[in-house]
Symmetry: C2
Subunit: 145 residues, 2 copies
DNA sequence: CTTTGTGCAAACGATTTGCAGGATG
DNA sequence: CATCCTGCAAATCGTTTGCACAAAG
């Protein structure tokens, strides 16, 4: 766990970011999760035991991390911006019952061919978003919304 | 144009929606466009000549249309919710320079196989989002953000 | 010590809500 | 005519900003 912490510190420095406790906490937390928490979720997670970061700080830390490419935002539902420390290309699965989000490895859908785009469009990257039901929300008998 | 109007009225009625001038205008406008306007863009377009709809009405019309499946929302950038009267499955292209959004026909990427999902996940639908440059923003020499 | 980040509270923009009057079926 | 919709303004929610103080390099 300490090695991991050192790693995070090193990464932040490498990107030219000052290492503050708040930034460290936000980034370490994001790296520890794969469910793309919202800003609010990050804040309440970090402040669970003791108040460590104000909400303005969370947002500014997220922006700083985004600016250097350590974090990206994920938009899958209205009105909520989620954050993801996994900046490698990957796809998303969203359970339409409980809203849970699962990362899908890149190789699941890597067969998309960007050279087939309509004339004039040059594609650089793509991402697949799948809607469905997660393991806990199987619509076996009772259909979920 | 009048036949189209009749068609729109008929569709609204069929879905059990009262046909009001505002609802008609919102839906007809959305059907006339393929660039997924925001609520604000819809409002200013409709009020271009004469004030016809308040912003609360636009939102409630959009919700009513969404509820009956005539309109869906499209989330491709932060903080903006776009609306789309094309509820047939299709993909999206977003120019990362000017932000323009283009629909991509379904058949461009229909080769995705949802049976390959990780165990426990049951996929129902998917959508591909492509980032790149549109015809007016080709990064020939000067790179865009 | 200089630069950059933090915390607070107020500002902001998009969306929602409550309620009285008005239009639809 | 009963029901549902509109318009207005106020409320709400997530995010951003301004500024004084504090911490990082």
């Amino acid at each position: 766990m300490n090695e991991q912490a050192d790693g995070v510190i090193h990464i932040l420095k490498e990107k030219g970011l000052r290492v503050t406790p708040q930034r460290f906490a936000v980034y370490a937390y994001l790296r520890s999760r794969s469910d793309h928490p919202t800003a609010e979720q990050i804040q309440s997670a970090l402040n669970q035991n003791a108040p460590t970061s104000s909400q303005a700080t969370i947002y500014s830390a997220l922006q700083a991390l985004r600016k250097v490419g350590l974090v990206r935002e994920v938009l899958l539902e209205e009105g909520v911006c989620r954050y993801d420390a996994n900046v490698e290309p990957h796809h998303h699965f969203r359970c339409q019952s409980c809203g849970a989000i699962t990362d899908l490895p890149w190789q699941f859908f890597q067969q998309v061919d960007l050279s087939q785009l309509p004339p004039g469009l040059r594609g650089e990257a793509y991402e697949v978003t799948v809607r469905g039901w997660c393991d806990r929300c199987q619509p076996t008998h009772s259909q979920a919304k």
